[in-house]
Symmetry: C2
Subunit: 591 residues, 2 copies
């Protein structure tokens, strides 16, 4: 049975790209939903086949509820039914519902780098509507899995939220080493935009067209009790750190169901260290939290994307485990941040007492007006104002560093990815073949009919088996060490991907302050406004410095830990092999 789709928006094919021109309201036949990269293949009424952005097409279904049941629950149900014997989840759901949630594969640094003085909202120019082009489907460490705010789809999804459970987009694939397309595999072009409907729902005030002037020139700040103090510590400006660092544990994923069992989802238990009382949340609640944090702090603090829905793991259990591990990593990072962790919205998420409490907190957070660049209005630096030169210098320094680190981190990810492939693919196969060759020769020797060579043949068989065991050790090792090295670097890649925006806001502010005299001359602002702008740019700089110092502190901790862990496991690995070979060696007769 062919799947029909209704065209939601006009789309004009670009010549030579195998695309199909469609008109709003047109009905097409969906011929291939597995194209990937945000595209589907469709056939129009005249029989012409070509690619259309998947968001431009809505699948034609008889009735909404039944559809969703078909689209999500039945598949999910099937997955659960089959969960006793884990089966690949590959390609389910996302290819059916067509509502992906993947990152944009483009480099967040690119726009900004090409115009280093531009900054601010210009950074978004290359992709203002958050084009949903899925990339790296097979590779959890491609950009898809450490998305950038840019890639975040925003509240346009809200309509479907009730139906959008954890299993949406559960396009999992096999292991890190089996990338099918990689970053280069996705079909992308600047012209392929998401539906304009979504633009209107874009809610990132920090990156709105208004830019940092909203804060710089604000006549009066909204009165609130929020205050984000900055102190001068040993390393320079620092946030106010709580005496006890908050921590939390994400655990115990449980299947829940709704709609009389027609719809199922996974609920995670989160236990914060301050109350030690577990609360339950679904992935979509984490998503909501991320959205709120990004809205509120995004201009001052890099808020890393949530672990992407496209996570590793061929099987259901692995999928849940991986997502939980990454949610834990994300939550830990948020808990460690003194500003984020002490925010009301974060505390609400972690410590709500009951459903009513949660709903109240949710509503309140959604109404919060101290969002976007206005977060700077709550910052109070107990330090003398910085000159524009100092502000600019710091900003440049941080942008250089974060760009350089982004390159370094990507290098490790690339190399690690290659190494993962080798360790799980050709290398163990080779050790296995060596092992088999020894054993085969031993078998031949056994058939010699010559007496008294059982010591040799037993030893050779044991040596062969040892190499087969080594093959297994090699194949399993990446999960024990490289995995954490990759996860950490992946987290940092995500975090660093937020900096072009954060720094961009600062660069835009600097530009605005530089324009000061001109603006005064043109009568657009008063001289007092100019002084206020400079002062506020200084506050922004303190904020950026405090954030960088926080970043450095965490970075040193994280890399020290992960390198140590990596080397420790590597030592164990080589020692285990040496020990196994020593035992094999011992079986031969010393001549």
């Amino acid at each position: 049975a062919s799947v029909k789709g209704q065209v939601l928006y006009d789309f004009t094919a670009e010549p030579g790209n195998n695309e199909l021109t469609v008109k709003e309201g047109e009905t097409v036949t969906i011929t291939n939903q597995n194209v990937g990269g945000g595209w589907i293949e469709a056939q129009n009424s005249r029989g012409v086949v070509g690619l259309v952005p998947e968001d431009y097409i809505e699948e034609v279904r008889p009735a909404a509820v039944k559809d969703i049941f078909y689209c999500v629950s039945s598949i999910t149900e099937k997955a659960f039914v089959d969960s006793a014997s884990p089966k690949p989840l590959e390609g389910i759901c996302c290819w059916i519902c067509g509502r992906h949630r993947t990152s944009n594969g483009s480099d967040p640094w690119s726009a900004w780098n090409s115009d280093p003085a531009g900054g601010s909202s210009d950074n978004w120019a290359s992709n203002p509507e958050g084009t949903q082009t899925g990339t790296g489907a097979g590779d959890p460490w491609s950009s898809a899995s450490h998305g950038h705010p840019q890639a975040y789809q925003g509240p346009g999804r809200a309509d479907f939220d009730e139906w959008d459970d954890e299993w949406d987009d559960a396009k999992s694939t096999g292991g890190y080493g089996e990338s099918e397309s990689g970053e280069g595999g996705a079909i992308q072009r600047p012209g392929a935009h998401a539906p304009s409907m979504k633009i209107s729902l874009n809610k990132f005030p920090g990156f709105s067209k208004s830019g940092p002037e909203l804060y710089l020139l604000c006549k009066q700040f909204t009165k609130g009790k929020e205050r984000l103090p900055i102190y001068i510590g040993e390393v320079g400006p620092v946030w106010l750190y709580p005496e006890t660092q908050l921590d939390c544990m994400v655990a115990d994923p449980k299947k829940g169901s709704k709609m009389y069992g027609l719809k199922s989802y996974i609920e995670y238990q989160i236990t914060p260290s301050n109350t030690n009382r577990p609360v339950n949340h679904r992935y979509k609640h984490f998503d909501w939290l991320y959205e709120r944090l990004l809205d509120k702090f995004g201009s001052a603090i890099p808020i890393p994307s949530l672990p992407d829905k496209q996570v590793t793991g061929r099987f259901e259990e692995e999928f849940i485990k991986m997502r939980m591990e990454r949610l834990q990593g994300w939550m830990t990072r948020m808990c460690r941040h003194p500003v984020v962790s002490s925010s009301e919205v974060f505390q609400t998420f972690l410590t709500y007492k009951d459903e009513k409490d949660w709903k109240t907190g949710k509503r309140k957070a959604e109404k919060d007006e101290t969002v976007g660049v206005m977060i700077f209005s709550t910052i109070e630096a107990e330090a003398p104002d910085l000159s524009l030169h100092e502000v600019e210098q710091k900003c440049e320094q941080f942008s250089r560093f974060t760009k350089a680190m982004d390159d370094g981190v990507k290098e490790i990810l690339t190399v690690g990815h290659e190494h993962w492939k080798r360790c799980t693919g050709p290398l163990p196969k080779e050790y296995q073949r060596i092992g088999k060759a020894f054993q085969n020769l031993s078998t031949v020797f056994t058939s010699s009919g010559y007496q008294g060579e059982s010591t040799l043949t037993d030893a050779m068989t044991a040596a062969g088996q040892t190499y087969e065991e080594i093959a297994q050790l090699v194949a399993e090792q990446p999960k024990k060490d490289l995995h954490f090295l990759m996860e950490t670097n992946n987290e940092y890649k995500g975090l660093l991907g937020c900096f072009p925006d954060t720094i961009g806001v600062h660069k835009a502010a600097i530009d605005k302050v530089k324009e000061g005299d001109k603006l005064v001359a043109a009568g657009k602002i008063t001289s007092q406004d100019k002084v206020t702008m400079a002062k506020r740019a200084s506050t922004m700089s303190y904020s950026l410095q405090a954030e960088m110092n926080h970043f450095h502190n965490n970075r040193i901790y994280d890399y020290n830990r992960v390198m140590q862990q990596y080397l420790e496991e590597q030592v164990k690995f080589y020692e285990t092999i040496a020990e196994k070979l020593r035992n094999a060696h011992r079986q031969f007769v010393t001549l």
Copy 2:
């Protein structure tokens, strides 16, 4: 300047094989001498270009002595002149003189396997003239380097011996892992025969058309003092082993020169353990010895080919070292053999007192008539005659075993070859990249401007350097362990490659005995002859059994030793890596 060649024999091109038909006496232009596989590319007077067997063409040169000087010495001189700064020897000489000495790439087992009952000289049917098809030029472990008697060019070379020094055919290439053509690279077809001139010079009596009946039906054996007794030991029939096993050391390769310094060669010093007095020999003397041993013992004892002239090593020194190592291996194997080591010819080679003594011994050995199948006439087994059934059973058993071991050894060589490539190619490159990635990130960290992270950055740099060191360890390791495993298996591949012939002689003898009644009925032999034949076949079987027991004994010793050595080095390798990583780990701060 184009090289002209004179056609020595008619050759008719096979259609579709890119060959060129040439007539005896015709002059052609040699357009490509580097075709390989025993072919050269030539152009006839009509401009047609195609392949011709290289032995069919003689290079046109002005005068003989000068030619040879040009062909061999000048090149050799050049190699020596340049030896201060070692340069590749690749492709010199053999491509110029055109007189290759390479093994035939075909499987010695193939002919025999396709006709298991055939045996004897039929074994040679597929290649009766010792076609010289060079194979595996780039790979010291391809069949080229563990040649088989079949490939031996025989005394047809004698004419050129004075001019044929060690540097002939010194086509060396780079390392085990860099095979350029492999076994599949040679052009071969059954029709491409060497010049018939060489047939007449074929001197392997053991494999002559007469077959084992020469011995089986011999009326009277030549009277001589040679006696090769066989005893029944614990493991069955065994040769008489000397009380002290002979050993010898091949060392101290020295350049010598002749012809007023126009011609140079390498002389090796061989010191046998019985006299402890060194004698000098050039490669061609080893070659002469091999020839004599093959003539004399080849029917009863597998005489492995000398290490091929095409040995490993890009540079002169490496080339000499490798050849010496392999000559040592060959000599050690010969010394270990009770029959070979106690033979007059072998003793002459090792213990001659002066030039005159050597020349006398040489002449005597060349006149020896107890060669080929007649070696069996010297064998005296102190045991009851075996029935034909027993003889047949033993023969079948050994043929099965040697074939199976040949397969097993080849498997190890194939796997080892692959492993060598990986260990010297992609794997160290990857470790180097890992090391560089760590160091690069460390450099970025150093640029942070954040205080107090030198412990981390120093440790990360050290970790990166450690992985670079590991890269080097990985790349160098094969020379320390895999090399010996490969050399031993390579030696065994060569040894096993002799068995189809040795066993073939026995199978032919068995067939002859089976024909006994028919031959008596036809009046071709007497009844007494028939009885004698059966008795002599029994003697042959004892000889084969003694040889197999010798083989097994050596095999157990060799494999026990090489496996032990391999594992020992492997243990050291992994322990070294673990230790290096432990040191790197220690530099990080324990959290």
